[in-house]
């Protein structure tokens, strides 16, 4: 299973519809401080089923919804979609009859999140398992957030063990 595209709308500072194409090899992301680079990483983590607002650097999960700028009003809905290529047929059985999977997470202010896979409403649990089966997901060690690299070494040995579990 491969990641092909990430689409955002109303998610943090990405208020306008935005698409990041994910291709083979190495894609660099650059830009000045505060322009939204780390927000992109959080969009990816969020659509894969992140449950902690703190890991989204917010106080509550509604903080991922565009809060407005000096010229634009706040929104009430945020949506992130990830488009996967499943031609190698490695998805869990319930999703495995299709070449492409389109997973969308949508949050409405004060109403919580819903997930859809190819248009069909799905439980958060099933989306999380879909990614966990592929050695990825919101908690994957391969998603290294800003500033986290320095804390891994000074973590307690028992915390470091969880890193090992991902390899098992």
């Amino acid at each position: 299973m491969q990641f092909n595209r990430l689409r955002l709308k109303g998610f943090k500072s990405f208020v306008d519809p935005t698409e990041l194409v994910v291709e083979r090899g190495m894609t660099g992301i650059v830009g000045p401080n505060g322009c939204g680079k780390s927000n992109l990483v959080e969009a990816l983590r969020w659509v894969m089923g992140e449950t902690s607002a703190k890991r989204m650097r917010g106080g509550e999960m509604d903080d991922v919804i565009f809060a407005g700028s000096q010229r634009r009003p706040a929104h009430n809905i945020a949506e992130v979609a990830v488009h996967l290529d499943n031609t190698d047929r490695t998805a869990p059985a319930q999703f495995n009859d299709l070449d492409e999977l389109d997973i969308v997470r949508r949050i409405e202010r004060d109403k919580g999140s819903t997930y859809r896979v190819n248009g069909r409403e799905t439980r958060a649990r099933d989306v999380q398992l879909l990614f966990a089966d592929q050695a990825t997901g919101a908690g994957s060690t391969a998603l290294v957030s800003q500033g986290r690299i320095g804390t891994i070494i000074n973590a307690k040995p028992s915390d470091r063990r969880t890193i090992l579990e991902e390899a098992a």
Binding site: R24, M26, T27, G28, I29, P32, S145, I153, N154
Partner: protein
């Protein structure tokens, strides 16, 4: 669960030892599971000595040395159970030029040898120059992010402008 964890530990340790010497250009390192009867409860200890230095407590390593050691561990886990996508958010920030170079070389090898797709967020010119393609994030309208595909020249300008 117990056998799997022990088997995974052996593999990760093998890769970690190798990746450490590649990232540091020498030295040695290894992992060990703290002694408890049940490996599922054990902690992971790291022993590392950069080239020419004595083995010591990890907290005495410098900021850059700790970052490199952490990367060796992350990539070791990764080699045992490769994720389809890997995102590195400014992991090169504490590194000097020589270590940025070794870091990029390693990421390049991992990207070429497997199917994993890498997203690398960076402010380092050297790292930008090694990428297969670049996206710039701008806020030409303040408070609103926009994504644009850029070439190296434009990326340099983006760094200067802000």
């Amino acid at each position: 669960g117990r056998e799997r964890l022990l088997a995974a530990f052996e593999q990760v340790n093998g890769h970690f030892t190798d990746l450490f010497t590649r990232l540091f250009g020498g030295g040695q390192a290894q992992l060990s599971l703290t002694q408890t009867d049940d490996p599922l409860e054990a902690g992971l200890e790291i022993y590392a000595s950069p080239p020419g230095k004595k083995l010591q407590v990890m907290s005495l390593l410098s900021g850059g040395e700790q970052a490199l050691t952490a990367l060796a561990l992350l990539f070791a886990v990764f080699l045992v159970n490769p994720a389809p996508i890997c995102v590195l958010d400014e992991v090169d920030a504490p590194l000097d030029d020589a270590n940025v170079d070794r870091f990029c070389t390693l990421v390049e090898e991992l990207a070429r040898s497997g199917k994993t797709r890498f997203l690398v967020i960076t402010h380092h010119r050297m790292t930008m120059a090694r990428m297969d393609r670049l996206f710039g994030v701008t806020m030409s309208e303040r408070g609103v992010s926009q994504l644009v595909s850029v070439d190296l020249q434009a990326a340099e300008e983006l760094r200067e402008s802000a």
